[in-house]
């Protein structure tokens, strides 16, 4: 077993997570979590439970408010300009995509690679074309994000994060707002990435996704955790999720939405 496989992709010990918008507000306290290389985690929780904040921290985009955090063996507190390559081993797909509205879909996908390796548009075109084809986005390559449906924007955001060939991919609510056909595509594609997609190098990716509905994510190979009441609660595999007596888990499994109607 190589050294990179023995180092956990993400390791958190007693970590406190602050809110992105207000660093003085703690959304999760005392998080103990270890993600081994190649694992596929589903982090479930209701709205405002701290899913996005936890992912931002796991991506090294914000420091922990307390505790010890290691990302691929490095402390995110030390992520500066010179450790950028280290941080970019972790990819991030935002909920809704967060594409750059002034650029076309192809330019969006090319930008991280062009910036990191100082490439011209022509030099990056080959890799962009491969990803556009994989994501079925080729006909939309020269369209700006505002003129593309949310389903395709989300795929473009996935392509944009994959162009830097990350080892760990964090996806914030990737299925939110997608049509049924696109949901199926995402679930299948993420499984391929998790197993090692030949057209993207064949290296199995470590995946962490957040979800506010557990039902589409049922799989015996995945691991599950719940965020609730400022706590991180590891649930185990799908069997444990189904057997859980936690009312929040039951709600996330039933897809129930609290309503006053």
């Amino acid at each position: 077993m190589s050294e990179t496989q023995t180092i956990p992709a993400i390791e958190m010990r007693g970590v406190n997570v602050a809110a992105m918008r207000d660093a003085s507000f703690t959304v999760l306290a005392d998080v103990n979590w270890s993600v081994a290389a190649g694992e596929f985690w589903v982090i479930a929780g209701q709205e405002q439970s701290g899913k996005s904040d936890l992912l931002m921290l796991a991506a090294g985009l914000m420091p922990p408010a307390g505790g010890d955090c290691q990302i691929l063996g490095s402390d995110p507190k030390n992520f500066g300009e010179s450790e950028l390559a280290e941080r970019l081993r972790v990819g991030f797909v935002f909920q809704g995509g967060h594409l750059f509205n002034q650029l076309t879909i192809a330019e969006n996908i090319a930008l991280p690679l062009r910036y990191a390796q100082n490439l011209t548009a022509a030099e990056a075109a080959g890799e962009v074309a491969t990803l556009l084809e994989l994501m079925e986005l080729t006909p939309l390559a020269n369209v700006t994000p505002a003129n593309v449906a949310a389903n395709w924007r989300q795929r473009a955001a996935l392509a944009r994060s994959l162009i830097l060939q990350p080892e760990v991919l964090l996806l914030d609510n990737p299925l939110t707002g997608l049509g049924a056909r696109h949901r199926q595509w995402w679930l299948r594609f993420l499984d391929l990435l998790s197993c090692g997609y030949a057209q993207l190098g064949g290296q199995p990716l470590t995946l962490v996704v957040t979800a506010d509905d557990l039902r589409p994510w049922q799989h015996e190979r995945r691991k599950y955790a719940l965020l609730h009441d400022k706590k991180f609660l590891p649930l185990g595999g799908w069997n444990e999720v189904e057997a859980s007596g936690d009312p929040i888990v039951k709600e996330l499994l039933a897809g129930l939405v609290e309503t006053t109607i």
Binding site: M56, A59, L84, F92, F94, H98, N101, Y115, N118, L119
Partner: protein, 286 residues
Amino acid sequence: MRGNLAKAFELANSEKFRRAPLPKSYTDFLGRKLFLFLLTVQGLGAFALITLGVILKKSGVAENVIRPRIRQEITRAGVALLPMFLFVALALGFLVIGQTVSALEKVGAVSYLGSTMVIVVVRELGPLLAAMLVLARVGTAHVIELGTARALGEVEALEALGIDPVHYLIVPRVIGMALGIFSLTIYLIIGALASGYLFAFLQDVALKPGDYFKQIAEALGWLDFALLALKTIAFGFFIAIVTCYHGLAQPLRLEDVSRVAVRAVTQGVIVCVLIDAVFIVLYLVT
């Protein structure tokens, strides 16, 4: 409630109230405004220093991405505004310079024409007018674009992808605007001086074109060229800093963007006037 308002209105207009010392709430208000002003100055200063640091530190980083963006910004803040500046130069020449030439001729002071033109157009009106027009036309677009990008999470996306937002979003705008205002001011001055003479010529002012331009050339010193370049580049740099600061430096929601755009333009005008005042002092000292 209405009764209270009426009473307050009556009180505010009474002689007794006018002579009374300011209530504590006014001092609170002024103090708060002063404190906010100092915070803004601090924020703008820090942002300007960060931007300068990034310009110097990352001059060779991702050139194939940043250089096309700088060219794009120079086009936007310079080349694309040429037709508008041509129109303004003609208007400025006709309205101000032509009349000045004509008036000087009436009082027999045509020999002062060169120095008057240099002071009015080259030192003051040209650079300031160019800065105001670029602020209105491009500066507002900067705030809205960056504010929207910030509100839609594009800045976080840049950071997640390892792209420095200041390097990618701010540096091209700052360089583009500084070079844009410098070039446009030159065109504006040349256009205004030429159209001014044209207007005076149409009014039968007894001044040959050769004499007119000779007087202006004699009135211009090397300091005028140096300070004109410095002043216009300073205008461009600080307008870009103010507009980009308000668009990018603080977390925004979409509904905040229009309010922030108004504030940025107001502060941009104030900054231009302050820079102008500094250069007036420089002219007087030198």
